[in-house]
């Protein structure tokens, strides 16, 4: 499994002996036309790829009056400013929606990793009759389009009684324990639950892929030493899976942060929405011009972009763990 990490761009091995062999020869300084063409092509693609983002940033930094006066393609006459960000940040309550999102995503990621690692541990370290079927159920469940299950799920959410034990209030923000309407519907915990269950399918598959490379003898000798399975899972197997868990955490954070559909259907109150669906709501009423839209959209993508920049290695590892097998 360490092999997966060799696939990462950061540790790219020199896998072209031919190229490396040329390096020692005197002609290596010669500019190769093929290489130049390659860089030109890739450079053009990069420009094309970055342009929509660049354009969003540029739009977001212009006051709308300036755009109206000079058209959207023009040099900024009045200079650039953060006025659009200021407006969106304060009037559209962006910080509040960040909190909403994190309240869903952080427990979601932790619970998913706990459940998925339990299942993966039990399915890969012990042989029992149905372990393959269990793995298939989890994996296939994650591949279903969410729309296939949404209407019955909506019914389940409307018909599951949940205790109402007050709430944790921090100024304007209120986290219900566990439901403020005695249902799963329209609750943070409802959204957390469906994220956890849906993503456990994916995480179980990836973690099983990882754990099957851990020899069963480790578990067996721990059993002989008198540890019970829960303890082996927690203090023997999980530490061994740290790289996979880090990769999955990064990926799951992004998946859950970016969700739109579950929150659209399973939440009703505007003040419980995570940032992606909040943006959609703002579209009609608040986003009176495109420069504000740009600022709002960019504010919403700051967290995942930060994660990407800081943890790119884990992110890519998470995506490829599931797909490449040693």
């Amino acid at each position: 499994m360490t092999q997966n990490y060799q696939f990462l761009p950061s540790t790219m091995p020199a896998i072209f002996p031919g190229v490396a062999g040329n390096a020692g020869k005197p002609k290596r300084r010669r500019i190769r036309p093929a290489r130049v063409a390659l860089h030109m092509f890739l450079g053009a693609m990069v420009a094309l790829w970055l342009f929509p983002l660049f354009w969003a940033i540029y739009s977001s930094l212009r006051p709308y009056s300036d755009t109206v006066l000079h058209g959207s393609i023009s040099w900024p006459s009045g200079g650039l400013s953060f006025i659009n960000y200021q407006t969106v940040w304060t009037q559209a309550d962006i910080p509040y929606y960040y909190v909403n999102t994190l309240v869903i995503v952080i427990p979601g990621v932790i619970l998913t990793l706990l459940l998925a690692s339990m299942v993966a541990f039990c399915c890969t370290q012990f042989s029992w009759k149905f372990n393959l079927i269990v793995l298939m159920l989890f994996t296939a469940g994650n591949l279903l389009p969410p729309q296939v299950i949404i209407r019955p799920l909506y019914w389940v959410y409307l018909n599951t009684p949940i205790a109402n034990l007050g709430s944790i209030d921090v100024s304007k923000f209120s986290f219900a324990l566990f439901s403020d309407n005695n249902l799963l519907y329209d609750q943070y915990i409802g959204i957390i639950l469906i994220h956890v269950v849906f993503q456990t399918g994916f995480a179980t598959f990836v973690l099983s892929n990882y754990m099957k490379t851990i020899t069963k003898e480790i578990t067996e000798s721990a059993l002989v030493d008198g540890a019970n399975v829960l303890r082996i899972w927690w203090s023997v197997i999980l530490p061994l899976c740290r790289p996979a868990l880090a990769a999955m955490a990064t990926l799951l954070f992004t998946f859950m942060y970016n969700d739109f559909f579950w929150a659209l259907v399973l939440l009703k109150s505007g003040d419980k929405r995570p940032i992606t669906s909040a943006l959609n709501n703002l579209q009609g009423e608040f986003f009176v011009n495109n420069n504000l839209v740009a600022a709002g959209a960019l504010l919403a993508c700051i967290p995942p972009i930060l994660i990407f920049i800081l943890l790119q290695k884990h992110f890519v590892a998470g995506l490829t763990l599931g797909s490449t097998k040693g």
Binding site: L135, M136, L143, Q147, S208, F308
Partner: protein, 323 residues
């Protein structure tokens, strides 16, 4: 959980040595587990499995059952609600939005399969070499993958907007008054959002494929080179066959993405007027005021049946190596 070691110690002393286990496999492995261990395993698998069955597979089955009813979402489902195949009959013959939505999903799939996915693979092949700046290129192409499709939709609206959008302005269509309504015109808006969706899809495929390429044993290529194969020949006759497992994953990812498409069409215009998709019809019929749950479920079943293709392909190729 409480004091595990003391209560289990006697049972364990009867267990055979670990060395003996390796040879006698299966049956004996269980003797190493105490009753408490077995109970724990049952819980560790059982709780997540129960949730999975309750919230994923139960609803899947319920969708199938509901598709044979005319249930409107109110009250219990009774025998009187059963209408047999009527929903399907109307879906295929009477519902004017079904075939457009179906073909939009097909176009989505075809676009990803023949344009976006090959472009991602092509970029991966180009970037899979010792080259200055390859990491920067990779990061740039990969960047949109971390963004949600909602944000992608917003970012591309800035390109497509009729008056303020970049595209109409840069081609002078605003000045000449020949505005193209990229997102409003039902003949082109599907392709406009496919470009936006591809912006994200290409990077995803690139990174998956790059990982696959790096797992190809370099000596294979070296051997092909020594034998006088060109780079193109090497790719098609040596690299591609070795990459069969990753190719399956790419096919599956592409198909699933096309079937799941929802967010971007929904935020652009709620999936109307040229952007109808099966997923959107399910949402509109079974969750809007119309509350045609039975009928919406029939569309869900159609989507389910199509999805089973890539799902079964994926399971049959990956499960052999698991567990």
């Amino acid at each position: 959980m409480a004091n595990p070691t003391t209560s289990q110690a006697p049972a364990r002393t009867k267990a055979p040595e670990a060395g003996a286990l390796v040879t006698t496999r299966r049956k004996r492995r269980y003797t190493l587990l105490t009753r408490q261990d077995k109970l724990l395993i049952l819980m560790m698998v059982g709780v997540p499995l129960a949730l999975d069955l309750l919230l994923i597979w139960g609803p899947t089955l319920a969708s199938v059952v509901l598709s044979f009813t005319n249930w409107d979402g109110i009250g219990p489902v009774t025998g009187n609600n059963i209408v047999g195949l009527k929903n399907y009959q109307f879906l295929f013959t009477g519902y004017t939005l079904f075939w457009p939505a179906f073909s939009h999903n097909l176009i989505w799939l075809a676009w990803l399969t023949f344009i976006a996915t090959p472009l991602g693979m092509f970029l991966a092949v180009l970037l899979d070499r010792e080259m200055r700046g390859t990491r920067i290129y990779q990061s740039v192409f990969f960047l949109p993958v971390v963004l949600s499709l909602v944000v992608v939709g917003f970012i591309w609206e800035l390109q497509y907007a009729p008056n303020d959008g970049f595209i109409n302005n840069v081609f002078g269509l605003v000045k000449s008054g020949k505005l193209i309504d990229w997102l409003g015109n039902p003949r082109i808006n599907l392709f406009a959002i496919l470009v936006a969706a591809s912006w994200r899809h290409v990077g995803y495929i690139m990174i998956l494929y790059l990982a696959g390429l790096k797992s190809v044993d370099p000596s294979l290529r070296e051997a092909a080179r020594v034998d006088g194969a060109t780079q193109v020949q090497t790719f098609f006759h040596v690299v591609l066959p070795v990459m069969a497992p990753i190719n399956v994953i790419i096919v599956v990812v592409t198909a699933i993405e096309a079937l799941r498409a929802f967010d971007i069409a929904f935020i652009i215009n709620q999936g109307k007027n040229g952007l109808e998709l099966l997923s959107i019809l399910i949402y509109n019929n079974s969750l809007s005021e119309a509350s045609l749950v039975g009928f919406g479920s029939a569309i869900a079943v159609v989507l389910l049946v199509i999805s089973l293709g890539p799902i079964i392909l994926f399971l049959s190729r990956t499960m052999k190596t698991l567990a």
